[in-house]
Point group: C2
Chain length 79, copies 2
């Protein structure tokens, strides 16, 4: 079973990486880019075959390791 | 209009970051994690209101800046 986790900085947390990308896009002549946020995506290959158990498991992974929940939010997709 | 870009290392390209995450998950007692790939997600806020134009625009951004197409693949979602 595959899981995909998105980890993004929470709104209001400064995102210098996204800001740098926005700046670089402007320099390259891409107008109309009003904001950029950059985050991580983590794709997991799981032995688990039950979707609910997999989701619970991955959520625990996020809480413990994958996301810094003080400044980051995460979302879990199971496929 | 919002766009979301996923940039992942191509299959066959070594992903040490993903490997490190897999290892760390194992150390934390999460069994059954067979593979981890880590990539980037970039969320763009665009002034463009036409979905097709936005997609073309973002694809060009990927080719020029956001992805290293030698080793990375990307996908664009327009929402």
């Amino acid at each position: 079973m595959k899981a995909r986790v998105h980890v993004m900085l929470k709104n209001g947390v400064l995102d210098p990486q996204g800001e740098a990308v926005r700046h670089a896009l402007g320099s390259l002549g891409f107008d109309g880019v009003e904001g950029v946020r950059q985050g991580k995506v983590i794709e997991l290959d799981l032995a688990e075959t039950d979707a609910d158990k997999a989701r619970a498991n991955v959520t625990e992974m996020c809480e413990k390791l994958l996301a810094n929940t003080v400044i980051e939010s995460y979302s879990v997709e199971i496929a």
